[in-house]
């Protein structure tokens, strides 16, 4: 296809990715990588480079809105980022040494786990109003607006959260994704943080995690401007629209959207990783 056709198609797919990403705390990378490799036959190295760019675009673009609305929690995000950035460096380091097929399969497995956990989620346990001791010392507790009124919440299981974040970071460095799915799940399930705070804080965090791998990706030539340009511009447009929708959206709907999207992508990636098409 011509450069113009390629650019337009990528822009449209990326806008969709950015929109979904802003709603669910994902970086859009989970949509961008399969879209580029499966639909457009782009080599996975270029795809993960462009994906990393899209993650930062979603994060920086949307984060401004969320922080101002009072949803995300900077302290939690920053503390956990120590773990994610360290993991990201480890992962990026490994990325050059792992085969493309293996990357695709790992990617798919990660997505399946995230999808199933989200889709078969039992009723919201209701966030705990109390933090455990470590969380209190770290001053993690906060409040967020529910129907216009501030609702307090506490946080638990910080070490587990920290460990999961290292893993999320490693996946990010390895696959060029933001690992928003893992971050949201770690905060929501392990640390009992309210879902909307988890997703918006994740959005805030994925950009930093991605930046930790970006230097390495750039120097290896994974980020090609002709691929990354439409991805970045599309994702930004989509994310800007998505942020306007999130505030009014129902948590239950968001979870289902999240689960369905990544389940479909997971299956595709695994199949293609195995059959060798990726």
């Amino acid at each position: 296809m011509t450069a113009l056709e390629f650019t337009v198609v990528v822009w449209v797919l990326s806008a969709l990715a950015g929109f979904l990403g802003a709603l669910t705390g994902l970086g859009g990378g989970v949509v961008v990588v399969p879209a580029l490799t499966l639909a457009l036959g782009v080599d996975i190295k270029y795809a993960i480079g462009a994906s990393l760019v899209s993650v930062i675009a979603t994060s920086s673009g949307a984060a401004a809105a969320y922080v101002r609305e009072g949803f995300s929690n900077i302290r939690i995000g920053m503390f956990l980022e120590i773990a994610t950035t360290l993991g990201a460096i480890a992962g990026a380091f490994l990325a050059g040494r792992v085969s493309t097929h293996v990357l695709a399969i790992i990617f798919g497995v990660v997505l399946i786990h995230a999808a199933l956990t989200s889709l078969f989620h039992r009723a919201d346990h209701g966030p705990s109003a109390e933090s455990d001791k470590l969380a209190t010392r770290l001053r993690f507790n906060g409040s967020y607006p529910v129907d216009g009124k501030p609702q307090k919440y506490g946080v638990r299981n910080v070490p587990a959260g920290f460990g999961l974040m290292f893993g999320a970071g490693a996946l990010s460095g390895l696959l060029g994704i933001g690992s928003g799915a893992v971050k949201v799940l770690a905060m929501d399930r392990a640390m009992h943080i309210p879902f909307k705070v988890s997703t918006t804080t994740s959005n805030f965090m994925i950009g930093v995690t991605a930046a930790a791998s970006a230097g390495l990706y750039l120097s290896r030539g994974y980020i090609d401007p002709r691929v990354a340009m439409p991805v970045m511009l599309g994702v930004l447009a989509g994310a800007l629209l998505g942020t306007r929708v999130l505030v009014r959206a129902q948590v239950k709907t968001l979870r289902v959207v999240f689960g369905v999207v990544i389940l479909a992508l997971a299956i595709e990636m695994i199949v293609n990783g195995i059959t060798g098409k990726v």
Partner: protein
């Protein structure tokens, strides 16, 4: 100026917005230049080829952008985008320090050091 959480968050948010818009403008400009020239070019990204220093190293990118090549401009905008989260963390360090929040000044400083370490290795 009294600093508190809310102000810190708003300032960081504005910084992010500005950085993103600026980088988007540069990438868009480069993109337009690129498409005007190469819109009919037949492209394939099926096999990976390591590009030259003009897209892989910061000095190379700066040089290409200064000469207003389309790829140089696009890549420069992308690098600027990559720097926005880094700037965000740096601002958080400053903000927490102004709030006299010692614990989180240190926490965010650790993150900043990790980021700097990984970015420097790439150049």
């Amino acid at each position: 100026m009294r600093m508190n959480d809310k102000r810190l968050e708003i300032i960081i948010g504005q910084l992010l917005r500005t950085g993103v818009l600026l980088s988007a403008a540069i990438v868009f400009g480069g993109g337009v230049l690129y498409l005007v020239r190469y819109h009919a070019a037949r492209l394939s990204f099926r096999s990976f080829q390591v590009g030259g220093p003009e897209i892989r190293t910061v000095p190379g990118i700066a040089h290409a952008a200064a000469h207003l090549t389309s790829q140089g401009l696009m890549q420069a905008g992308l690098v600027l985008l990559i720097l926005t989260p880094v700037a965000r963390v740096a601002m958080a360090v400053a903000g927490f320090a102004l709030e006299r929040d010692r614990l989180y000044t240190v926490v965010s400083l650790i993150v900043l050091v990790i980021l700097a370490f990984s970015l420097v290795r790439a150049i």
